[in-house]
């Protein structure tokens, strides 16, 4: 099993007594110890055995420890090398670190310190190993039909899809752009009894208005200018399967009437044809518009809206489910690692924290693009804050007209406080709770930088005067 994969340590020293002491001191289950008394042979062993940890004596005949250190690190940049120096020399220590050693110890070796340092490294290697495994497990466990998520909001969505999937004739997926509506449509197809039938996508926004009906229902040759041959419509193409009408809100009113008829009667009429054809098509429609508002201003047919909204799946914006963000990050990191042939372990913690806090106006698609960009920019194995697109890095300091880099921490705090306050609908008690500060501090944050919090709500707490 992976968790028992031993950590390998290579100890290189020309003094056999020293090697014996080290082997003895470090002997423990799960640690494979190799020893070697010649620097030249050490390189061969390292190449063959891939030790994660190397203990290296600085003074050896043949090749200096520093030279060997350089070569070991060049061969495997992830190796942890601890340099052992006979007497403490700051210069050598500094040099060793700058050549890539992870630490140095003085001889005579203090067994306890040696055990402590090596123990720390072993624990670190085990942890990395485990994190990788947990990642894999958690991605498998926290997805449904390829849709990633484990927030309460998404679990609700999954439960709904599971219930709807086998039975729906029509379904409406709503949610802001980039929340995964197309993924959900595909999931519904896979869960439906017609999973082996076609899944046909029609992007209603992408078809010119005068061609919509011909696209959906087909036409006969000569039925209008440009109809140079018979054409099968998407409805017929989706026979015994699912037709996905993306961006349904963009469908012209005239086509809406025909769509409703097609759904209700399960029959269509090609343009120019005199007879109707029977079809068996399940409809999944998606929109990021507020269709009800469109109904009210007569831009969308009420009867079609009610027919479709009988079965509705609402996708929540990404910012409302920050717990999903780390999972999605891992998913996309993996995806882009493969795509770009770069091996990333993940994001540095503060880069991840930044992404979790971001407001994601473009939702998951936006996050996907950000990770894609970062994976392109970053040097493996880690993605850090500086690799992220600048609009995300500087999101919290976007004061109009200010140079976003040259902004004080106070300014960032004030803007963040304002954002949180807006997000909780102006409730200062809630905002203070979210920010983890007292209300008095919140007032101070809001009033710093000249824009005093206006419209007091009768609180007794004092807030600082400006200036």
């Amino acid at each position: 099993m992976e968790s028992h994969r031993p950590v390998t340590l290579l100890s290189v020293d020309d003094d056999p007594l020293s090697l014996e002491l080290i082997s003895h001191a470090l002997e423990q289950p799960g640690l494979r110890i190799l020893t070697c008394n010649s620097p030249l042979r050490a390189l061969d062993i390292a190449r063959d055995e891939h030790p994660q940890i190397v203990l290296l004596d600085l003074m050896m005949p043949g090749m200096s420890g520093l030279e060997l250190l350089k070569q070991l690190v060049a061969m495997d940049p992830t190796v942890d090398v601890i340099l052992l120096t006979a007497h403490y020399s700051t210069e050598a220590a500094v040099e060793a670190i700058q050549y890539g050693a992870c630490d140095y110890l003085n001889k005579p070796l203090q067994v306890e310190r040696l055990q402590e340092r090596v123990g720390g490294l072993i624990a670190e290697w085990r942890r990395r190993n485990k994190v990788q495994r947990l990642d894999a497990e958690s991605l498998e466990a926290n997805q449904f039909q390829g849709i990633i998520g484990h927030s309460a909001l998404m679990l609700e969505v999954f439960a709904r899809l599971r219930r709807i999937g086998p039975h729906f004739q029509t379904a409406l997926i709503t949610g802001p752009t980039g929340t995964g509506k197309e993924l959900v449509a595909q999931a519904l197809h896979r869960l439906s009894p017609v999973a082996s039938g076609p899944f046909v996508i029609c992007n209603c926004a992408a078809i010119p208005e005068n061609l919509v009906e011909s696209e959906l229902f087909g036409h006969l040759k000569g039925s209008f200018t440009g109809a140079i041959s018979d054409k099968t419509g998407l409805f017929e193409a989706a026979h015994n399967g699912v037709l996905f009408l993306d961006e349904l809100g963009e469908l012209p009113l005239a086509a809406q009437a025909k769509l409703l008829r097609a759904i209700q009667q399960q029959e269509i009429q090609r343009i120019g044809a005199t007879h109707v054809r029977k079809v068996n098509v399940r409809i999944v429609a998606a929109t990021n518009r507020d269709l009800l508002a469109d109904v009210e201003r007569k831009a969308f047919r009420e009867d079609l809206f009610f027919r479709l909204s009988m079965v509705e799946v609402k996708l929540p914006p990404l910012a409302s489910r920050p717990d999903d963000i780390p999972l999605l990050i891992r998913h996309f990191i993996r995806q882009f690692s493969t795509r770009y042939g770069k091996e990333f372990e993940g994001l540095r913690r503060r880069a991840e924290a930044l992404l979790v806090r971001y407001h994601w106006p473009g939702n998951v698609r936006d996050l996907e693009n950000a990770i894609g960009y970062a994976c392109m920019m970053a040097e493996p194995p880690w993605v850090d804050v500086n690799d992220l697109p600048s609009r995300i890095r500087t999101a919290e300091v976007q004061a109009p007209g200010s140079d976003t880099l040259l902004v004080t921490l106070d300014e960032i705090q004030r803007l963040h406080a304002q954002k949180v306050l807006a997000a909780v609908g102006g409730n200062k008690v809630k905002a203070a709770g979210v920010l983890g500060v007292s209300r008095a501090t919140l007032y101070r944050l809001l009033s710093s930088g000249g824009t005093a919090a206006s419209g007091e709500d009768g609180d007794h707490e004092q807030h600082d005067a400006n200036g």
Binding site: Y88, I97, Q98, D103, V385, T394, V397, L409, I412
Partner: protein, 173 residues
């Protein structure tokens, strides 16, 4: 008035932002808000008999420099390497960073601050190691952004070094 750009460099969480805050406005805050990008502050002081403005660039913590952060260092006269005394990794990272930065900015002067001296019982670097660095010609100070111990002296010493360097450069020119 002499102006110097000075960058604060070191691993994350070692106290760069706190040190600047302490030096510029005598404030200390226990909360940790990681720095994103760069934050620039300034303070005027007298050093080596001259009025000096230090323009302090507080960078996001790094264990090593990517091209991007290197860019922020452009035009600096000096830098402050900050180490969290309670974290050996931050000390080793500073030794590494010093190599990287000195290679690109051989003329820049620097001081090393071993910060969080108020937590000295928990330190993971030994006095011998710090003394060794002093012996090699490094300027090393123990500081606490929390209590203010050593902070003023450290910044002042760097400012003094920068003044001297600037004056001797002017003379030879």
């Amino acid at each position: 008035m002499l102006h110097f750009k000075v960058c604060l460099i070191g691993s994350f969480g070692v106290g760069k932002t706190s040190l600047v805050k302490r030096f510029v406005s005598s404030i200390y805050d226990d909360r940790y808000l990681t720095t994103v990008g760069v934050r620039v502050d300034r303070r005027e002081l007298r050093a080596a008999g001259h009025d000096v403005t230090l323009v302090l660039w507080d960078l996001a913590g790094e264990d090593n420099f990517t091209g991007l952060s290197m860019k922020h260092l452009r035009g600096m006269s000096g830098y402050i390497l900050v180490v969290d005394g309670t974290r050996r990794d931050s000390y080793l990272a500073a030794l590494r960073l010093q190599g990287e930065v000195a290679a690109e900015h051989p003329d820049a002067r620097f001081v090393l601050l071993a910060n969080k001296s108020d937590l000295r019982e928990d330190w993971e670097i030994s006095p011998i190691e710090l003394e060794g660095l002093s012996g090699e010609g490094w300027n090393v100070h123990a500081t606490s952004a929390k209590t203010g111990d050593g902070v003023e002296e450290a910044f002042e010493q760097l400012a003094g070094t920068l003044v001297e360097a600037a004056l001797s450069a002017a003379q030879t020119a």
